[in-house]
Symmetry: D2
Subunit: 423 residues, 4 copies
């Protein structure tokens, strides 16, 4: 899916007013749902996944709860029961429907949710022109929040559709022509006492700051991502059958779940096939490997005699690379790219890159006050940081300081691998 | 729901041709689905429950697999993948989609399933006029099979809707006016050497025969069903907290699942409310108690100093009572009835009555040959027999020899209680 | 293990005084534990299994609770906490340690339990001479109860030892020499209106009565048990891979647990080996198959074109056969026997024979009053009846009316197969 | 338990030869098991816990596998099956008995294991005098490994005994007299570019190095541990009922497991009681809180308006504090201590102190080669670092660079809390 499908253009995302950006994000979510039937939008394929219409409603609930109810005089709640149904995890916003049961809700239906969206969008118009900084900051947060859910809509529906033996496609797909893969080159970094983290200029999530000093030993980063072809060699070398390559927890999961390849890979007589948003197609050895867990990324790196980068190493390398650069003209989900210049390529917008850093608070971190303080901080345990964004991340959403995080066994995110080594 | 809602009239179900009855059963299933949105028809609320559109497709698959593919020259399968998706449990009919995953299928959608139905219904027309007895017998079976699924559609959607905090109603409900409950009278039966089971005249499932002799000691049956008011007294007497009233397996389940009342009962400040196909409403103490498990039926009987009847005791008592008699004018799901005449009332069409008989083969039972031989026999373990039909059983479907069966912990069937005692 | 190992002789068990029999049963339990280390006596290998020292303590608790505390003036409880630890399932006797946690109790140790036993045995002496019928009846029950636990001690320790990769033996075993297996002959029975169940003369458990009439159609019973050789042919014919042979619940369990043979069978390069109380040894094709579940017994019968007998069919056939007959001189656990005379052989004391009868109350059944009323009745759901006793059943314990019962998936009892068919 | 009970004296642990230290560690393990019956030594109370005799055997297997089999000419394995039974997690050392099934092994019995120990100890004598550095290094590792298991023996048996309703004591306990608790003072640290990690002089585990630079902002550490009294105030303030205090994963576990206090705390009518190795006793508000999970430590810190230290912050503060200092004269498990001097007290040997650092490889970390390379590295996911040792850690075992690690929900380790804050 290229950015056009989301209704964005690369230039448009810079410098627009809040009102314009609000309108655009609302419309983009709805365009994402357009190819999906009411039935598609209803299914929860595992507890981690939410139905499409739940995402559409929850992002509206966010604006309703944290903005309309607080700042819009006389605002009348669309439906008082929606607060219970569409609160995700905000304890301070009251009780809520259990996450694993989101797929039990046939009502409100997809059309009802669209009415809810229209109601919220329309009532937000006044607030969009408000001048209080708190309101503007919350709208910024709501927009960034909805962008996150746009990615989740695609991540989740891919999982839903993949479990259907009919293997239905979300969109018509794109022609895939394997490209030549450039030899693996390395970019070297000096290390030393450096600064990482967001400095507070412009929007960022609270977990990206504060900016702080960190010591780095010299290191090298691969100039491109690990390809499917390289990962296939790992599989063919017995990668999934050799415990010495794995973290202990990872090996336990490989054994218990019978993993033999990344999620969405299927071994057919005619070779590996993969399930994509465009349906089943032949694996392209030149494209970045995707839908691996942290455990698989770590095992691959060990097999290759390398390691994963820390998030600080990644961030230093990404400094100054324009985040939207990789995005505009992609005609396929996971473009393979030969490194186009000095320095790492495929940094933003291909696959999320697993780092070896556990998700934790930066020194001096303080969660925001109120319910939105639950946005990030309370998840700082047991998860690993990923960096860089993926092909279904909305343009303009990521930054070099952006920290995504998932449990190390998660495979339904678009997670891939960039290797590192000590210099 | 009265029988009119199913498109039946009491007279119509007798004496019609197979073709007419086929047409009627197909149309009735579709009318049952009419009030449901595509989202409603997609959800599987627990492994025992199937989505509405799955029922609609599976009943078509039955005709396609056991009739069209075998007997219709040149018949072209509607979609070769549907055989995998819509086979329920027929091992001989090939591999199939796992039952607990029926709720993961957004495709085919509800509209696709209706096209599949139309295709099957239309191609069946020729076979409806065929003269081979084997074909007619299989069509009879297919009709009875679809009638069973009509009841399941309503049982299952009730469960689906009940789990939604919005408590949506399937239909508009009916006014409920508590009636006076007649004192409990008893009908006495002599026992002796009797015969039970189907004698082979007219359609019956294989598990209803062969007709065979059985010795019965004299016994008495309650002339009416246990009411909600009586069951409420059991609750108020600590019924769910007294292990001595329960079978050991039942007590383990009461404790593990925290049962405190029948399924669909909710204790509110203003008294017990129950969820029905017409939505939430106040409990009517005069209506028969429903949605109890075998364990609860058995515990209630022990509390009352009585016992449940055996299926043979029930069948002897039901002999000669017209099965459709209770059905025509019901304006509510669970009508309470004072015994209208000598002999038991509420025998057919109110609630399925749990018996103390484990579901087992009758002496001399032989399962039918081929795949349809899997219809009944292989379930003869761990289940208990229920008799009599319930308010959502299609008219004309049940008989005095009819054997329904469920696991003793099942509460989503419309199961209720009739007491018995030794004479 | 022959009966001598239990300290019984065939003649001794008849006609002795209650005092003599009490003394004998207490001593026999202790002899059973003698070959076991304190460590062996501590382990609970699954929730169904109890540690040996728990059995030794619980059988003492039974006498202490239902006799000493009620009838022995001034009796001082050995340890007040033992009531909590060693109550099995008597709700009326107060709260108790959860069954799945019996293996967490290192204290009281095996030696402590022996002191408890000595204390109870010694204080029982006075009551053994009491003349109240209630006391005598409870002592009879206590003796029968302890005999049941003697069998459980051996059933359970076999399971415990089998899970140890060292495969330790309980006793030194016996030489096993395959015998010739007689051709399968059938005994035919007329059926008609018959009586079954205990008539109240002499001791019996409450579930064996009342004696009652039952109609039986003519039938035939195999004159001997199914052998391991015959069962091996079922395995080799794909018995565990053919769903059409299995009850639906059975097939689900075969698939989920990966069953491929009876419990304790291991396929080695040199053929089938089985684990016995005498350790691992080569399977003897002439011995009765043992450690099969009801599901396996049922599937085997279907494969053989036969069926299992009902418990009434079995009981009629067993009438007049002396229960202790098969027992005295067995030098091995599962002797294979050619039918020695007209009529069925191997009826008592080889393997428990699965019947097709669900465990249920006989007509007119009333559970005993008080806590001992929980002995049998509350288990009358979901279990199947087995008849005849097995090689580790204490001599004198079983009768033709004796009803054993287990869940249909239980394989650790000594359960085997006798075929039946309609005449 | 004071160090005398382990047979150590503070002076003795320094400067002794390898042979002396080997002999001492072997004897100390056996003294730890001495108060335990064979039954006690057999039980596995949860998958994380191992039976005492398993620990005794496994530590011998370690010397046998990595030293005797490789370096002792003509060494004959004690029992070839022990390799399977007593390998813990070394994939390279071959297949092994599943960890959750260690409690199923009644054989080898406790006495057998002691014979195994004697055999290994005796054959090690020659190697103790060998001069190859590789051998000496492996013996050092084996000693440190056995010391770790000494702590595990006590951690595990405490859990085993705690689940017994008889609440048996491991030892006779010590008189507990609440002391006055000093006001909480803080030690301040400048931070800056510092070095942490082991520098390679003397024995250390591989995960303690390499020594590396790290940037620290100025911070303060509490001069003493959080007391039971302070933790009780957290409980009384609703700490276990307020989701805003908890990490999301922690709150899910609090809810699912019903946590209301630290492990081993019991609320009685007369106040909190705790289970200790000396049995049940009244909680002493002046002693350090123990047996809390990381989640509880983190929630307490948030409630207190503070945070947990990072492991680097802890290590910098611990530099130069003699590790054995707190140990010698403790007459109780968890002595409460007023800070005795400038700087933090209770640093070593009271409770393990949870840090906010996820357990990860230090920059430049390389696991050792061969099977012992599995010792630490493969556990570097999902666990949190604890520092400082506890009252049952063998004297001489810990260092300021020592890294212990457990999953954040683990409560059976002796884990406690030291607060930190930004300066």
């Amino acid at each position: 899916m290229d950015s056009a499908a989301l209704g964005y253009s690369r230039d448009a995302v810079r410098g627009d007013t809040l009102a314009v950006r609000f309108q655009r994000v609302r419309a983009a979510s709805e365009r994402l749902a357009a190819p999906l039937s009411p039935e598609d939008q209803t299914i929860q394929s595992m507890p981690d996944v939410s139905p499409t219409k739940w995402h559409l409603a929850h992002t509206s609930w966010f604006f309703e709860t944290f903005l309309l109810k607080r700042f819009a005089p006389g605002y009348k709640t669309f439906d008082p029961q929606y607060g219970y149904l569409f609160n995700s995890y905000y304890e301070a916003a009251g009780p809520r429907h259990p996450r694993p049961q989101r797929g039990l809700l046939s009502r409100p239906g997809a059309a009802d949710v669209m009415r809810y969206r229209a109601h919220v969008t329309s009532h937000m118009q006044t607030l969009l022109r408000a001048e209080q900084p708190e309101i503007a900051a919350l709208i910024e947060l709501g927009i960034a929040h909805e962008e996150q859910h746009q990615e989740l809509i695609l991540m989740d529906i891919k999982h839903v559709l993949s479990l259907n033996p009919l293997k239905p496609a979300y969109h018509s797909g794109a022609a895939v022509r394997p490209m030549e893969v450039a030899a693996l080159r390395w970019s070297e970094y000096e290390g030393g006492l450096r600064e990482v983290g967001h400095d507070g200029g412009g929007f960022a999530f609270d977990n990206e700051g504060p900016r702080h000093r960190i010591w780095l030993d010299p290191y090298r980063l691969a100039c491109r991502l690990v390809t499917c072809g390289e990962y296939r060699a790992f599989i063919e070398d017995g990668g999934y059958r050799r415990p010495e390559l794995w973290l202990s927890d990872g090996w336990a999961i490989v054994s218990a779940r019978g993993w033999e390849a990344p999620l969405y890979w299927e071994r057919h007589d005619r070779g590996w096939q993969i399930f994509t948003l465009g349906g089943m197609r032949t694996l392209d050895p030149s494209e970045p490997v995707c839908h691996v867990s942290y455990y698989e990324a770590d095992a691959f790196a060990r097999w290759a005699g390398k390691r994963l980068p820390t998030e600080a190493e990644w961030e230093i390398a990404a400094e100054g690379i324009p985040p939207a650069g990789n995005f505009a003209d992609s005609g396929r989900l996971h473009p393979a790219r030969a490194p186009a210049r000095e320095g790492p390529s495929q940094v933003f917008g291909d696959v999320w890159e697993w780092t070896s850093s556990a998700y934790a608070a930066y020194p001096g971190f303080r969660a925001a006050g109120g319910a939105v303080g639950e946005y990030n901080g309370k998840f700082m345990a047991n998860q690993m940081v990923l960096r860089g964004g993926c092909a279904v991340t909305p343009p303009g959403h990521v930054r070099d300081t952006y920290r995504n995080f998932f449990y190390p066994d998660a495979r339904w995110p678009f997670g891939g691998i960039r290797l590192a080594e000590d210099a």
